[in-house]
C-alpha cells in the first residue's frame, strides 16, 4: 500500500523540508506507525470520536435533492454534524493524542477557513495543551466567527501578513515556528498535505468517513454507490471519503475551487490547472508561474483557497483513479442556496462546490437509479457573513 517507505505515492509526496525537521518527521512516523498497531490507541481515539466528536455521522438520503435530478439517488455524508462543524476534528483528535504520546507540550496549526484552527484549538483545550494558530490576515477578515471561537477555546490566533495573506502563507509561518520550536512543539497539519508522514497519517485519521459510508450505504442500498463526490482543498475530506473504496469500481470525483473561472487564472484548481512542483514539504500538483514561483490561489471559500494539493490526489489523477473538476464561486453559491432551501441543511461553501457539481453537472448526465454519495464536509455557520455580504 502507498505511500512507499520514502513517503512517495508513485513519485509524489516525499520530505522536502529543512534538515532541522527531518528528525521530528522520523519521530512522528515512528509514533504514528506504533499507534496504527496499538489497540489501546485505536480504542482511545474511537471513544473520543464517538462520545466527544459525535461519530458515526449519518448518511442521509436527500430525497428532495434526488427528486430534482430526476432519478438519481443522492446521499450526503453528514460530517457537518460533527463537533466543531466539519471533518477536521477527526484528524486533530488523532494528532493531539499522538502529540501527547510524544511528550510534546505545545501545539501549533495553520488554518484557512478556520475550521481546522477551531478543531485544533478544541482538541488542545481538551488535552490541556497551549495552542497557537497561524491564519492569513485576509482569512481572519472573512472567517471572523471562527477566529472568535478559537480565542474562546483559549488558542492564540497569530495573523500572517506575508505573501497571499491566506492559507499558503499561514502554512509557511507554521513551518517556520515548527523549525524554531521543534523539540517541544507538535505541528498539526490540517489536510493531507505537507511532508511524509502527514499525507498518509491525516488520510488514515480521515478514512473513518469512508469506512462508515461503506457500512451505511450497504445497509440502505445493498450495494456501493456509483459515484462519490467531494470538494478538494488540500484534499483530506475527499481522500478520507474515497480511500476505503480505492479497490472498488466506484468512480471518484474531486471538485476543486474554480474561483472566477479556470480561464481567469483566479482559482484554486491545482489538479485541473497546475503542474507538479514542490511546496510545503511535498511534491504534488501546484499552481505556479512560468518561473516556478507559486501563484496566489483564489476562492470564495477560504478552505479551498490554496495553490497546492495533497500528493495522493496527484497520484489518483496521474493514474486516472479519480477525476478532478472545478466549480466556480458563483456556482458554489447556487449549491449553497439549493441545499439550504430544499433540504434544510446549510452547508459550508467548500462542500457547496461538491453539491453543485453532483446535482447540476453529474446527475443530469446519468441514467436512472444511479447512486451518488457526496461528502458534506462542514456546515455553513462560518460562511453566513460572506453570504450576508453578498445579498
Amino acid at each position: 500500500m502507498l505511500p512507499d517507505k520514502y513517503g512517495k505515492f508513485d513519485g509524489f509526496g516525499g520530505k522536502f523540508v529543512p534538515e532541522t525537521l527531518m528528525v521530528a518527521l522520523q519521530e512522528l512516523e515512528r509514533e504514528y506507525k506504533k499507534a496504527l498497531k496499538s489497540t489501546k490507541f485505536k480504542q482511545e481515539l474511537g471513544e473520543l470520536l464517538e462520545v466527544y466528536a459525535g461519530r458515526p455521522t449519518p448518511l442521509y438520503f436527500a430525497r428532495n435533492l434526488s427528486k430534482q435530478t430526476g432519478g438519481c439517488r443522492i446521499y450526503l455524508k453528514r460530517e457537518d454534524l460533527l463537533h466543531t462543524g466539519a471533518h477536521k476534528i477527526n484528524n486533530t483528535l488523532g494528532q493531539v493524542l499522538l502529540a501527547v504520546k510524544m511528550g510534546k507540550s505545545r501545539i501549533i496549526a495553520e488554518t484557512g477557513a478556520g475550521q481546522h484552527g477551531v478543531a485544533t484549538a478544541t482538541a488542545a483545550a481538551m488535552f490541556g495543551l497551549p495552542c497557537d494558530v497561524y491564519m492569513g490576515i485576509e482569512d481572519i477578515g472573512r472567517q471572523a466567527l471562527n477566529v472568535f471561537k478559537m480565542k474562546l477555546l483559549g488558542a492564540r490566533v497569530i495573523p500572517v501578513y506575508s505573501g497571499s495573506k491566506t492559507l499558503k502563507d499561514a502554512t509557511n509561518e507554521a513551518i517556520r515556528d515548527w523549525v524554531t520550536n521543534v523539540r517541544t512543539t507538535h505541528y498539526i497539519i490540517g489536510s493531507v498535505v505537507g511532508p511524509h508522514p502527514y499525507p498518509a497519517m491525516v488520510r488514515d485519521f480521515q478514512t473513518v468517513i469512508g469506512k462508515e459510508t461503506k457500512k451505511q450505504i450497504l445497509k440502505y442500498e445493498g450495494r456501493l454507490p456509483d459515484y462519490m463526490v467531494a470538494c478538494v482543498g488540500g484534499g483530506s475530506n475527499s481522500i478520507g471519503f474515497f480511500h476505503e473504496f480505492f479497490k472498488s469500481k466506484v468512480k471518484f470525483i474531486g471538485v476543486e475551487a474554480g474561483g472566477l473561472g479556470l480561464a481567469s487564472g483566479k482559482h484554486g484548481a491545482a489538479l485541473c490547472k497546475g503542474k507538479p512542483g514542490i511546496l510545503h514539504g511535498s511534491k504534488s500538483y501546484l499552481l505556479q508561474d512560468k518561473n516556478g514561483q507559486v501563484t496566489v490561489a483564489h476562492s470564495i471559500s477560504a478552505g479551498l483557497d490554496y495553490p497546492g494539493v495533497g500528493p495522493e490526489h496527484s497520484y489518483y489523477k496521474e493514474t486516472g483513479r479519480a477525476q478532478y473538476v472545478a466549480v466556480t464561486d458563483k456556482e458554489s453559491l447556487e449549491g449553497f442556496k439549493m441545499l439550504s432551501e430544499i433540504e434544510g441543511i446549510i452547508p459550508a461553501l467548500e462542500p457547496s462546490h461538491a453539491i453543485y457539481y453532483a446535482v447540476k453537472k453529474l446527475a443530469p448526465k446519468l441514467k436512472k437509479n444511479k447512486i451518488i454519495a457526496i461528502c458534506l464536509s462542514g456546515r455553513g455557520d462560518k460562511d453566513i457573513d460572506i453570504i450576508k455580504g453578498l445579498s
Partner: protein, 267 residues
C-alpha cells in the same frame, strides 16, 4: 576541482577561515547586485552566496523574506541571475554559489539548471528544502558537471544523518547554527562548538556555519571551530536601510570589512 574547492584548499594552506557573504540577487536591482558582488570580494568575502528569490522561502526569517519580495518585483529568475554571474565573471574569480528553493530548480529542469549554472560560472548550489534523501538525481548530475551540491546539517541531526549529509555534499557542508529560520540574532546557542566537533568526527569536508551570525565577535568565535562563517540577514539589513541611497554599495562594503577582516588564523 571548481573555484570553491580551490578556495578551500588555498585557505587551508594559509590557515585561514572562509567568510561567506549572502545577498539576494535583484535586491534592490540586478545592476546593484553585480556591484555588490565585486565590493563584497574587495571587502574580504571569500565566497559569495547568491539568493535566487522564491515566493515561499520557508527557511527564512523576516529580513530575507522581505529581500525576496523586493527581488521578485523585478521578476528575477534562474536565467537572469545566471546571466548576471556570467557577466561578472570577466571581473572576478570569487567562488559564487546559488541559494534557492527546490521548486525553482525542479521546474527549470535539473539537468538544464546545472548546465546553465556551470556554463555561467556558478560553482554550486544550496537548497534548504532538499535533504539528501530527495537529492539523489541532482547529486548525480552535479557530480558529473563538477558543480557543488551543498547540503545543510542541523543541531537536531543524528550522527547517522550527519554521515548521510556529508556523503551527499560536495564543496562544503552548511551547518545551521540553531533550530530556527535565518535572521540576525544577538545570542547564538552555546552548543555550537560541541555540535561542530560532532560533525567533524564524521566528515573531512569543509564546514561553514550560518544562521543568526551578525557581529564581529560572533564571526571570530565561530571561526575558531569551523572552516568558515556565513552571514546573510545582517548584510541584507544594511542593504535594506540604504535602498535609494548613492553610497549603498560602499556602506555594505564597510560593514562586511568589519565582519570579515581581523579573523583569527587557524591553530
Amino acid at each position: 576541482m571548481n573555484r570553491l574547492d580551490r578556495k578551500f584548499n588555498e585557505l587551508k594552506q594559509k590557515r585561514k577561515k572562509a567568510f561567506v557573504a549572502f545577498i539576494m540577487a535583484g535586491d534592490p536591482s540586478l545592476g546593484t547586485t553585480k556591484k555588490l558582488i565585486l565590493e563584497l570580494e574587495k571587502s574580504g568575502a571569500d565566497i559569495i552566496e547568491l539568493g535566487v528569490p522564491f515566493s515561499d522561502p520557508l527557511a527564512d526569517g523576516p529580513t530575507i523574506q522581505r529581500s525576496s519580495e523586493r527581488a521578485l518585483k523585478h521578476k528575477v529568475n534562474i536565467d537572469s541571475v545566471s546571466n548576471l554571474v556570467r557577466n561578472v565573471r570577466s571581473e572576478t574569480d570569487v567562488p559564487i554559489v546559488f541559494l534557492t528553493y527546490y521548486n525553482l530548480i525542479y521546474h527549470y529542469g535539473l539537468d538544464k539548471f546545472v548546465k546553465k549554472a556551470t556554463s555561467s560560472g556558478v560553482d554550486g548550489v544550496i537548497i534548504p528544502d532538499l535533504p539528501p534523501e530527495e537529492s539523489k538525481d541532482l547529486q548525480r548530475i552535479a557530480r558529473k558537471n563538477k558543480f557543488s551540491l551543498i547540503h545543510l546539517a542541523a543541531p537536531t541531526s543524528s550522527r547517522e544523518r550527519l554521515r548521510k549529509i556529508s556523503d551527499a555534499s560536495t564543496g562544503f557542508i552548511y551547518y545551521v547554527s540553531l533550530t530556527g529560520t535565518t535572521g540576525a540574532r544577538n545570542k547564538l546557542p552555546k552548543e555550537i562548538s560541541g555540535s561542530l566537533r560532532r560533525l567533524k568526527r564524521v566528515t573531512k569536508k569543509p564546514v561553514c556555519v550560518g544562521f543568526g551570525i551578525s557581529t564581529p565577535n560572533q564571526v571570530r568565535s565561530i571561526s575558531k571551530s569551523a572552516d568558515g562563517v556565513i552571514v546573510g540577514s545582517a548584510i541584507i539589513k544594511v542593504i535594506e536601510r540604504n535602498i535609494g541611497k548613492k553610497d549603498l554599495v560602499k556602506k555594505v562594503g564597510r560593514f562586511v570589512q568589519c565582519l570579515a577582516l581581523d579573523r583569527p588564523v587557524q591553530g
